[in-house]
């Protein structure tokens, strides 16, 4: 298969003239390594265009980068729990506006499902402007106590909670679509009765409150 090599002499299989090298000329060296990472260039790049409009656009870009960090669409990564909770952290939190999407335009499955239900009407009903983050601790505790009382009183809320829990567990186990749809259907109907602000309250709270309102509290006695 190697065939005749021209009687032991190297010969090109194609016309070397065509690519531009004359016969017998020294061919360029074979390169055995990748090209350098920062090669020297003979020609330096042209200087940037500067002018009023470019400066303005530059300033706009810088402003934009700062602004987007403060928008509600910028989703912060949840920080890990620190060993010692710094007192100053609570007071250095940057205040952000809340944002509720228009649920009519989105698939139903994107609506967040809460683990437990805070039953009873809220004192402050926010519509589109949304509510702020959770209040400072003492007020929070008082509120929770109020809710627990209400929960203890209302039977309907108990049922709702159990249904919710059941539905959530089912969805967690990853059953087939129909059951999910049925559970979601139930939850959807329930949620239609609730106010939209529930989304904010549980969704945007700090780590210390999230998950703490588990249904275990129901079994404890309320004071």
């Amino acid at each position: 298969m190697a065939g005749n090599k021209g009687r032991g002499r190297a010969a090109y299989t194609f016309n070397i003239e065509a690519v531009g090298f004359s016969r017998g000329e020294k061919l360029p060296d074979v390169v055995l390594k990748p090209p350098p990472l920062f090669p020297d260039t003979d020609y330096k790049p042209v200087p940037l265009k500067t002018g009023e409009s470019e400066d303005y656009v530059l300033a706009l870009k810088q402003e934009l980068r700062e602004t987007v960090k403060r928008m509600p669409y910028f989703v912060e990564t949840p920080e890990e729990k620190q060993d010692i909770e710094r007192y100053s952290k609570r007071y250095m939190k940057v205040y952000k506006e809340e944002w509720i999407p228009d649920w009519r335009r989105l698939p139903r499955e994107l609506m967040p499902r809460k683990k437990c239900r805070k039953a009873g009407p809220r004192s402050k009903k926010a519509t589109d402007t949304g509510k702020g983050p959770s209040l400072t601790n003492p007020a929070d505790v008082l509120k929770k106590i109020e809710e627990l009382e209400k929960k203890g009183d209302g039977e309907k809320s108990d049922e709702e909670n159990e249904e919710k829990e059941g539905g959530k567990e089912k969805s967690k186990e990853g059953d087939d679509d129909e059951e999910d749809d049925a559970a979601e259907q139930e939850e959807y109907d329930e949620e239609e009765q609730e106010e939209e602000n529930d989304y904010i309250n549980s969704y945007f709270e700090d780590g210390d409150d999230f998950g703490a309102d588990s249904d275990d509290n129901m079994d404890e006695a309320t004071y």
Partner: protein
Amino acid sequence: MTQAEIKLCSLLLQEHFGEIVEKIGVHLIRTGSQPLRVIAHDTETSLDQVKKALCVLIQHNLVIYQVHKRGVVEYEAQCSRVLRMLRYPRYIYTAKTLYSDTGELIVEELLLNGKMTMSAVVKKVADRLTETMEDGKTMDYAEVSNTFVRLVDTHFVQRCPLVPATENSDTGPPPPAPTLVINEKDMYLVPKLSLIGKGKRRRSSDEDATGEPKAKRPKQTTDNKEPIPDDGIYWQANLDRFHQHFRDQAIVSAVANRMDQTSSEIVRTMLRMSEVTTPSGAPFTQPLSSNEIFRSLPVGYNISKQVLDQYLTLLADDPLEFVGKSGDSGGGMYVINLHKALGSLATATLESVVQERFGSRCARIFRLVLQKKHLEQKQVEDFAMIPAKEAKDMLYKMLSENFISLQEIPKTPDHAPSRTFYLYTVNILSAARMLLHRCYKSVANLIERRQFETKENKRLLEKSQRVEAIIASMQATGAEEAQLQEIEEMITAPERQQLETLKRNVNNVFLNFILELFIASVWK
């Protein structure tokens, strides 16, 4: 999507929306259309976070959803739309040049929020404008509404697809996701709103809101309780229209460079007349008669009809073929050949890149090959009048960078190399695409470099910020000049370095724009 583009998308998403959204977005770009649970499983993020990220991405038109059979909803990312985020400042600046500060703020709000209702936009913009005005003056909603309507009339802002109104919602379970529809006619239809009011100035005490929960602030009660009159009608910025505008600007400036100011004005008039009548991907504009053009010329230009006709003939005869003559009625019907114009612009860009990178002799060879389409090695040397060795070297350099390609023409069916012609040729489309890809790569590199520089000099930047504050306060109290000087010197070179990288970042973006348009035009 190429690796460089995905990297750039990832950097942009991270900058604008944070890491969680970036992870989900990049995953969708890489893998295509996927349902919710698969995304959560593959990216190993909690379902809640995935839902939130998807809500944000859908709000900003970066991800679309589709309902498939058996009720499964799949989400797909739009990579090209993510790349447009690079150009937001340019869109905002364009709106400023056309519609002044009001227009600028409207477009900025729409871009930052994805979609908004008209009333929300008007209110926010009025508030922002009021803050910048002098004390005691407020911005009227009517003025902002007028600018909004003008933006819609010129198609810079368009309606988002609507949720279809369901008559009977209790027949069967509601669908898992609404199918959004939009009628062509309704896209620029402004609802009749009577927005009465003035912008509100925020009290200075309200601005000091760090750590102070909103609940303690007095709420703006009256506006919240009223039902929103245009509920459900959302508007978004029409990016294609902005691209059209940029394209027109590029064509006009090209004509101005090649010929003179008057001909560029004529071309600008023609383009303006066909702004809304020509669809964005059309190869040429609607034919315009010379009489119409004469009537629509800007008021300051008083050239006579004959002069206009002469100019038009000159433009039509130009080898660049920006303007073509399509008929003789009405004093001569003229069109602007958009695709041809874009092609010429792309070619010019390629030529200038070759010149800056490899030198003017290489550029000569490049232009030669462009002109003659296919050339052999020997012919290149002869026509370009460059010695063989150098010509060879240059050709191979360009070949290795993929500006020029080789075309084989076999003489025999067995494609034996000794009996094959090798011709050098320039494939404009692929060279343009290669250059575009390179631009994206360099923008991604620049963004990374900027982030690196920021991190390195974070300490210094914070220091400089503090120094600026000190200077400001000292100037208020009337300090000595020498002290101020001393403080200013504390800011050193790295601070400027950072600014440089930023600038390069922004300017690089401009270059890739024409190439993108050209590629898009050829594909359509």
